[in-house]
Structure formats: C-alpha cells, structure tokens
Symmetry: C2
C-alpha cells in the first residue's frame, strides 16, 4: 500500500453553487451516496449561507443531516460565520470550513468583511464550537491565497498574516485556496513552505481551481511539498459567485488517476467515482461535465505501471 | 531574465494530422508565420509521409521550403524513413524528427517495422545526412515511451534500449514521447533519470499528450528533472492516427503561461500566441480549440507574481 492522500470532494458545495439550475435534494442525496460509496473519505456537502444569496445551498441542513448517517465518510460544510457554524453543528457536521480571504476585494465581495474582521469571527466560532458537548472540527481556509481577480496580486505577507491569525484563533487545520485559479507551481511550493514555516503542520490542505489549466500541476507541486489533502470536484464543476473569472475546481477523477498512478493510496475506486457522474448529469442536465480520464476511459496501464 | 526553456510548436504536424478536414496551404503558411512572429523558437511544420496515409501532410515540402526562409525560427519536419529524410533535406529543413516506437504494437501500426529495424533505419538516415554538404539535425524520438494503447505497459528496458540505440546511431538529440498520454509525473521523473543515466545530455526533450489531463503536470515533472525542451500544440490539437485513444498534445498557450509564470524565459509573446488561434480556426473551422488560458484570458497577475 502506498502513502495515503486524502481527497475531499467539494462538488456538492463548490460545484453546485455556480451551476445552471438547482439540483433537486433527492438527486443530491443519491449523488453524495454514490461519491461516498466510491470510497471518497471526505465530502463537503453544502454551505450554510443565505438561500437568498446561493439558492443551490438552501437544503444544506437536510443534506448534512442525512449525509452524516453514512458510515466511514467525514462530512464537511462551509460556514462563513458563527450563525452558519451553529447551524452546521445542529445538523451534525463533522467539520466546518470557514473561509477568510487574503485579498480585501474578495473579502468584501464574498463576506462583506475585512480579512481581519473575519479572522476575529473565526476566533468566535472556535470558542463557541469548543464549548459544545460534541466535537466538530474547524478548518480555516485562506481564500484567494494565490491571486485575486478583483485585487490582482495577493502579497505573500497577507496570506501569512491570515494563516497565522487562523492558527492563533485555534482552528484544527488551515487550508490554502487558489479561489480563482491564478496560482502556478513555483508559487504553490514557495507559499506552502512559507506558511508551514509560520504554522507548521497546522497547514493541511490545498483547494485548487483549474482556470489556467495548471490545477493538476499545482496539485503535483503541493504533493512534492508534502501536502496530503486536496479538494477537488467531480467533473470539474465549481467557481465562486463572488470571484469573477474563476472557473471550476480540479477534476476529482483526473486527480485520483494521477495520485493512484503515482502509487499513492486514496482509497477511491476510480470506476465507481466515474459512475457517479451519471447522477450528477441527471441532477444538472444543462451542466458541462469536464474531465479527461472519464472522456478517454481508464487505460489498461492504470496502476500497472506505477 | 530567467532560465531559458525551448517550446517547439508541433501543431502544424501533430495537430493537423488528426484534424477534421485539411488546412489549405496558404492558411497553414500564415498560421506558421503567426506562430513564428509570436516568438516560438522551433516549429514542427509537417511530416514527410505518404499523402495517401496522411493527406493533411501532402504540402509538407512546400511548407518547409517557405518556412525556412523566415529568420530566427528552427524548422523541424517529421521523417519516418530515409526517403522522408532525403525529402526534408531537399526542402531545406533545419532538423528532422524520426520516430521509433518502444512498443511493438505501435511500431507495427505506425511504421510497419520492428523497433530494432527502425533503429537501423535511423542509423542509415544519420549516415546519409552526415554525408551531405548542408548540416541538418537529426532527432530520434522514442514513441510510446510511457505506455501504449495497443500493447499496454511499455517496459522501461524497451525505452532504454531504443534510446541507447538512437544515441549509438549518432542522432543529435533524443526525445521521449508520451504518444498516447498514459504517463504520470512519477513515471516521467523515473524514466528521464534512467534515460539520462544511459545517454546523458543527449536526452533533450519531452513530447506530451494530455489524454488523461496530466500533460501539464508531466511537463512540470520533466522541468523538475532538468528537461528544457517541450513539444506542445496550439489549442491542444493532435493525436496519432495509428495510436487509438490518443488525444491532443499539451496546449502551448497553457504551457507557456506556466513556464513564464514560474520565471522561465520562453521568448514567446503570450498574447500574440493566443492571437494565432484565429488563423487556426479559419483554416479548420470544424476543429474544437482547447486551452484554459485563452478561454479565461491572461490574468492581471501574469508575470507579476513570479
């Protein structure tokens, strides 16, 4: 068995929020079940935001409540504030993911708060969560860590400042998000090293978008730096409604193909993962499904040439 | 200025041979001129093969004759045999690229020869070329070096055998081709190291296809191993008519974006390169043009965040 790499499927959250149309709740439930049945160890199933802003996420509480009943899969929900964290806790989420933008433009557009104010909100969230009887993990995610389509270049110091703030706020883990997909491999390597120098192994994962076609190469760069946790979306869906120009997440199928080919152990059955696209298409027939491996088919050399 | 990386545009050869329709010669000439004007240092403009087999390449002699008049760009033509090499020489090509498959199935389908027979043909080609008054470079390319859609896994020993044979035949340089796009980054690294251990710096370049979505990550892996010469095709066209399942080459626009973002110097003007897609579309209106960077647009952070 190879070294373990954890893939977190974020399609039901990041993928659906930009989709054409709204996936019906029963289809979403079956889709999440199919993803879990393929062996995906972590799924971000929704977002506790105002259904006025993102109507695709209106059923998140119901989705979380049913998803957590499924054994062997860690259920994540995005919570942008204390209210969302409380709702996620009530629904039984195993982990919440709380975004903090490193750029002022995206922070204002996405959260209507300054980065520093949002770090303070994360501290309030952590304090509240730790006071509850049930354990729920809190992940702080540094959004726009590799560039911003509103502000342009995001200074490394801003990323380090937010990451340190999150660590001091007491989050269980910190992720770096290339929200708009402007990052490149050398930047990934440099920033992962710099953040780790600040907060050590609290730096946990990378959330990458494929806007410029470098998403999988950026994952490889993170992998080389020892990152062992990656977000990805089935069929490469995704984007941020408040980050103009952002396109989909890296394709889970292609990422898993790369990782397993390289000898890493994801625990995921690639054929069953690809089969879950059928339900996605059923629930969102107008959506273009991306991904090279599903298109070409898993080659006969898969896992034989590692 | 960063370290130099050479990108060889193979769209006019590899890209067109699988295209729907035949690009008219005057459009092809303008397209190659636009690629050269964008600063691309090497262009593989055609293939001296039977026009019965690949009618898209019937005008290769004419294309080479006009392309070599253009200053500052190295003109490459594929030549599968001595006859093709002689035609390339007569047309004035600066370099020929001669394929030798590492797999028996592809060798038979593509060249109707055993790999060893083709290595012997390369030796004849080198001997003939060296006896001519004008210098013409000979590159030997190991096809299906990372897997074959006919034979499946290609043993590393077969690749090393062909690479050594090419070096002994006296070629100027050896390239490794992932003809069907089955390779993964760990395999690229391992094989580049192994081949370099056999033939040293005679190993020059990588020719990658993006069948499984790992093409750019594979280029990064090669880059990490010190490879500084990459083939790519504008808009990701390409494929091998005798390698079922192969899809397009890595996208030149995305590759150049990655290289320049990382601080390498390609000498290529990305905006002018993207503009050359217009002529490609004009000449092949039925062809789907790929590429993330052209789709998303060059972001304002380009070259600012290196």
């Amino acid at each position: 068995m190879g070294e373990k790499v954890t893939v977190c499927e974020v399609g039901p959250r990041d993928g659906l929020q930009m989709a054409h149309g709204i996936m019906p709740t029963p289809v979403k439930t079956r889709w999440i079940a199919a993803i879990a049945a393929a062996g995906v160890p972590e799924i971000e199933v929704g977002s506790f935001v105002s259904p006025r802003l993102i109507p695709q996420m209106a059923d998140t509480a119901e989705i979380v409540r049913s998803a957590v009943l499924r054994p062997g899969v860690l259920i994540v929900a995005l919570a942008p504030n204390l209210r969302g964290a409380q709702d996620a806790y009530a629904a039984g989420a195993h982990r919440i993911s709380v975004p903090v933008s490193a750029s002022f433009g995206h922070s204002r557009a996405n959260l209507n708060r300054l980065p520093g104010e949002q770090v303070a909100e994360v501290a309030r969230i952590v304090a509240w969560v730790r006071a509850q009887p049930r354990r729920m993990e809190v992940e702080g995610v540094v959004s726009t860590a590799f560039g911003c389509s509103i502000d342009g270049v995001v200074p490394e110091a801003a990323v380090l400042g937010v990451a340190s703030g999150l660590a001091e706020a007491g989050v269980d883990m910190v992720g770096l998000a290339d929200t708009v997909g402007y990052g490149h491999p050398a930047q990934i390597r440099r920033l992962v090293r710099a953040v780790r120098a600040e907060i050590g192994d609290r730096l946990d994962g990378l959330h990458l978008h494929d806007t410029m076609g470098l998403g999988i190469a950026n994952a490889l760069a993170g992998l080389d730096e020892g990152v062992r946790n990656f977000d990805a979306a089935l069929a490469g869906l995704g984007g941020c409604p408040f980050a103009p120009g952002a396109s989909g997440n890296i394709v889970t199928e292609d990422l898993v193909f790369m990782l397993e080919s390289m000898g890493f152990d994801t625990g995921i059955d690639l054929d069953r993962l690809i089969a879950a696209r059928t339900i996605l298409h059923e629930g969102l027939p107008a959506e273009t499904l991306h991904g090279h491996v599903p298109q070409a088919g898993v080659p006969k050399t898969f896992r034989a040439a590692a």
